[in-house]
Symmetry: D2
Subunit: 444 residues, 4 copies
């Protein structure tokens, strides 16, 4: 039998706390899971610094990737059972697409690395591009496995992930407002953080999901389940992904890597604290193999060494990160941003270099799935076959779509609010600083 | 107010997926959590190699330690509400013990390190002794925080953990057949693996738990809840803790560290692959500070380097561990152990050094909570105040107590069962090897 | 000890699927539960005709009443622990109110009867008035139990339920936008219907709930939990309480009771089908004792007899109700209500008396908890103690508050859409009827 | 299309709290659900008097029957997908059996009536025989629907239920140690009572279940899931089904019906309290139609009337039943049964007729699924295809199988333990009575 259709003698099941089981019947899927690149995902947390705030959220991109695969598997199974294509162009499901969907679902995050969001900001890497590279580069085990299906198969899988694959149904299963990726991460992050608002009715959504000519839509009878998914997603962003302390830890990490680049960018020394595996990135000259050596533990190992490095800023930031000592933050807006220069001045007087110990950010700087009617969103199919946009029938969804403003925060060292007893020299500045904070916001 | 009674202005809550919330009201508890030694537990998986089999089980000893604290907190709250001591010696609960219980619960696992079980086997460390050291040594932040309660307080906390504390109620809350530690790990491991058999009715058990003169017992009305806990524990051992593939990965890790000791035990080289933080252990000369630098990520970082090290055994074992390529295993017993020498011979002929690529173990080599009537076990209090042992009223528990035999397994490289096509040279030996395996057991 | 403080020797626990356990420590609460009036609630479904659509929703008002009691108990316990009043007028919780709260919570629905909503429409009873009567009338066991606390106690309990009790904290615990009653029914109805959208985080809400001078408010840190409760409530209304088939079964019941009044209002016959216990209501001359004889099973017993009664309308409606044969319905609005007379005409031509076989209603005719900013709603307390209305900080809640329009439906016999084969006489009318329906709505 | 294969235009889904959804695609299944006989099951509680102890357990036989259908549907779906028969006699699944399985699953309890267990004891009805009659008698709607499949189809469905159907796979799906019926009732009763011990891993069991020549067996890899089911079942019996207060309420009901037969067996009076629908049973001359008029509400309606009937025993027993005033009970055994005559004597002296106010029973008088190795039980299939009995590999199951003794109880009026103050006449007897009770057991 050819490799594309080669099934395991016995279906393999992985216990999964979110989906109960993940089912694998194709040899190629098992082979992909067993590659070194895929196993690496076990060592990359799904939520990065968020696990420092929600201590249960220690799950990996490995678990999430299996989960996305499993949801995609259930969708294709349902489509094949209920909406099998009879003839080309009928807008129904062509099950010869099954394998490309399953592989793309499994591999969609294969390019994610340690603390992706911050890492990319500092080093200019791009996990989406790296995902493409891992799949299409001949140097990876992933590529070798996919090639066994057909020489062009790696490119096809990659094109599903970068959304250029011609069949929109396939693309939207993996990337759309309501896709296998988002459904898994919301459920999995909710499960592991313990934040209950993130749950929604997956089995109902899978039931009302259906193919049509332009992609994927949902039956009107499932409107409430879809609406509930959008509300849950909104709530997870408000409560988990935009959490101010998590953002504060990202600021610390950002500053730490920035300082490391200054100190080690040109190093040639062989010392215990030399970040060998990071050097290509600190020097701005890395390749795919370099990237694949990294994981959360590797970075943390350097940070542990750096806690004792003879540079005050590096050691202090490493200690803040490893021992979880977040910066403090307050909200500000147009009317109060004028205060920031003066606050930075006070911070500098207290002995903290503002370049390394302060920051501003807006929650919308994080990747956010706003539901914005206009571009293609979620379509519902009525009894007579016509389609309507979800936001046109759901006031809840409309309300969420309209919430366009993010949350601006100014980050600073906690010490500025709790001066040591012997530094009364700066008492007036401390008082001034505090006088500008009320109910968590800056005030004039 | 003195530090022992100093409460937070606002109770601090940690979201927890198992207990919903963990509540902290004492400043000392929050200070302990914020120490570097306690934060290190975030970087140590609760279940070591088991997460390579149950991919959801990526939770840390940090989360478990908070969970044990929370259960202990609920027990003391319930005891103080329902069974407050009126006068010394009445066998009821003296709430001046609250703080020592909470601290001991939080810190009971503070000495655990990376892959504890295997690490201890190879390097002769002892996590229980290290727990004592971390608490009582003046060099740790933990000790400094505890000292603020009273100079003798660290020793008191340590003595609860090593079971020499005079009040048996306090000791049994942390260490007994049905203690806060076991209750949390069973629930948390079940939650994260997704194995449903591990759950039991915590709130019911807390309700029927009560102090008496000799320690802690349970009201007869709660017999079924306690019985169910014992059954759940048995099931978790059978299904998770004794899982043969998890034990196979432990064997790989064991052989890998053994090989590293041979290669790096006397090294003086400064190379990228030098395991700096492991050297004190490889050399057999380490101190507490050395131990506290280690975590899972540090070890994995060395293993990643070693995948490319120019020693075949080290690089092959590192690859097997990092890329999750477990050894295969079969059960054997008295009647078949005679086969092992011949099987090892075949394996050696296939090019695998049996010292590094085979092993035997018995599931009971793992730490196992057998319920063995005789020594103090679980006592139930009848309506008239008399006590009976659980096993005397529960046939289920008796059945489990009687199951005394472990599960012997022989581990070997998977390659021996699936020879490459071009090695027909050894065909007869492969066939011989296979002929001795049936239904997962060795047969003559 | 006086009866008000008399505690059970051993706290009594009731297993509850929603709250796990319901805890009773006061003798008076147990005595109230054991009265004939309270036990009657076991025989009255919580959701009436809704159980004919959601077959799991067979729970009783008895279970709900225990649940409301349990939530109120947890609230008072939390208030007493965290916000105990120090001196009169400090706006904190005065625990001498505990007992009146618990009794009012337990008894708030004691006046509910069989199929309350429809029964009240037809017979002019009022369950709120009857609740007051059961508590304050000297003829009931409930009253006798309450009297043992103090002669004025029944009146106090009744005044909490009718919201005239002076302490607003007490009143709002039982009756407000976010009270023990609503919290229990949403959770319980969600649990039993299996509709997951109805769940919210009860323990978190109880944690952020607090007393203040004007009643009860919530800490700002709990904003998301409160918001989620409002969203869940909205979703339960949309999906369960306003379900069109449930409303259709209510229409059948309404018509059936209406017909029974015509036929039996003046009966003096002693027949098997005589609805003895209903006669006082059919005649418009009933007392409290008459009311307390009724339950769902009594009404159904008459309906079972009536399936064979020699009046076509009564027997047909009884059969439709008992054998669950709902009327069909379509939505209509201002632009299409002009069609209704013609549709009724067609229905009459088909042999169905429109008075008994058609109806219109609006979902807002059902008792609906709209969240309408303006009157006292849900207040959040900020860090500095100031209060804000929930809708001013939550766009989700604002969206729901704005959704002011109900859902108008026209009900008619299903047979009009599926004519028997031999009635081709009326074919054109059937076609005309169908031509006005599309996507579940009337169209011109 | 013929009726047997006629599918609904759109699959119908019923929300179910236990299985999430119940899926119906065949017209015949929907038609069976809509019969008057099946709708009657809505008015019969699944657990009879048990709901008086576990207040959440108010679910009906209707919900259970749908659940059994749904599990059977999933089993056949899985068998058809994974084990489709290739040729007759290959021991795999022949999907032409699907419809007879689904109908038998749905209808297996159709003959259950109000308070079946007690009702049958008193009136000599037999719900299993009535199930056969409802299916095969030409007078029922059920029979008419089934006849449309084929004239012989009703008999086939009935023979599956009475276990004479030739295909053992079909029979064992509905009736065996691990069948759709038991799986649904354990899960559903656990869900509604709130007793957590009753849950097990349904999806895992469905996965390892497979057909073979002699019926149904389970793959060895699912041993733990099957073992857990047996343990859960044991726990539900111990905690719920054998609950002494539930048995006490059954005793009250038994005595009440016995008294009613004495009083109304020969009545010819037309009174409000005449139990018209019960008369055929009280007289010992009933037919199927009589039986189908009854439900829990009908019986309760008579009991409500009888609370005021001028016979002390009838009215007292009716009040005890309707207002839930259970008899008290104690355990006894061979060594203490000699006390019973003297205890009955004391009870009689207290004014209670022992014939109506005392009873003995053994929990094993209730229908009990003991796991008794020897007759066909649960078979596990090993890797090489051979079968072993579950109890031979599971010490837990062996332990349960060995527990052969039931729990003997003596029931008596609670008043005997709490004499009214003014009856000091009998003080010595009360004291004597009490002196024989300790820790819930009789003692000499």
């Amino acid at each position: 039998m050819d490799y594309a259709h080669q099934q395991l003698k016995r279906e393999k099941v992985f216990r999964d706390p979110v989906h109960n089981y993940v089912y694998v019947k194709y040899q190629v899927i098992l082979d992909l899971i067993n590659t070194t690149e895929f196993q690496r995902l076990r060592r990359v947390h799904q939520l990065g610094t968020t696990s420092l705030i929600f201590h249960g959220a220690e799950h990996s991109r490995f678990a999430h990737s299996l989960g996305v695969y499993e949801i995609a598997r259930r969708i294709t199974e349902s489509f094949q059972k209920n909406f099998p294509s009879i003839r080309p162009g009928d807008g129904l499901w062509d099950n010869s697409e099954e394998l490309v969907v399953l592989c793309a679902a499994l591999l969609h995050d294969i390019g994610h690395g340690a603390y992706s969001h911050t890492f990319e900001h500092i080093f200019g890497t791009n996990h989406e591009q790296i995902t493409q590279d891992i799949i299409t580069s001949e140097s990876t085990e992933i590529n070798h496995v996919l090639q066994r299906i057909s020489p062009d198969f790696p490119r096809q899988v990659a094109s599903v992930i970068n959304k250029t694959y011609p069949n929109r149904q396939v693309v939207e299963m993996i990337s759309s407002q309501l896709d296998a990726d988002r459904m898994d991460y919301l459920l999995r992050d909710a499960y592991n953080t313990g934040v209950k608002y993130g749950t929604f009715d997956l089995s109902r959504i899978l039931e009302v999901m259906r193919p049509y000519k332009e992609g994927i839509c949902f039956e009107m009878s499932g409107m409430h389940a879809v609406e509930d998914y959008i509300v849950s997603r909104f709530q997870m962003y408000q409560q988990v992904y935009f959490h101010p302390v998590s953002r504060a830890m990202e600021v610390v990490l950002n500053r730490l890597l920035k300082r490391a680049r200054v100190l080690f960018g040109a190093t040639t020394q062989n010392e215990p604290s030399t970040p060998y595996l990071l050097l290509p990135f600190l020097r701005g000259d890395f390749n795919l193999d370099d990237y694949l050596q990294l994981d959360d533990g590797v970075l943390n190992t350097y940070f542990i060494h750096w806690k004792r490095y003879p540079d005050d800023i590096l050691s202090s930031l490493a200690t803040r990160f490893i021992d979880r000592k977040p910066l403090k933050s307050v909200k500000y807006d147009k009317s109060t941003e004028n205060l920031l220069p003066r606050l930075r001045e006070i911070i500098e007087q207290s002995g903290f270099n503002p370049e390394y110990y302060t920051a501003t950010d807006n929650s919308f700087d994080l990747p956010y799935d706003a539901y914005t009617p206009g571009k293609k969103q979620i379509e519902l199919m009525q009894d007579d076959g016509s389609l309507v946009d979800l936001s046109s029938v759901s006031p809840l969804v409309t309300a969420i779509s309209d919430r366009q403003t993010g949350d601006n925060r100014f980050f600073f060292p906690r010490e500025v609010l709790r001066p040591e007893k012997n530094v009364d020299l700066f008492e007036p500045e401390y008082e001034e600083f505090k006088s500008h904070i009320r109910n968590g916001k800056l005030i004039n």
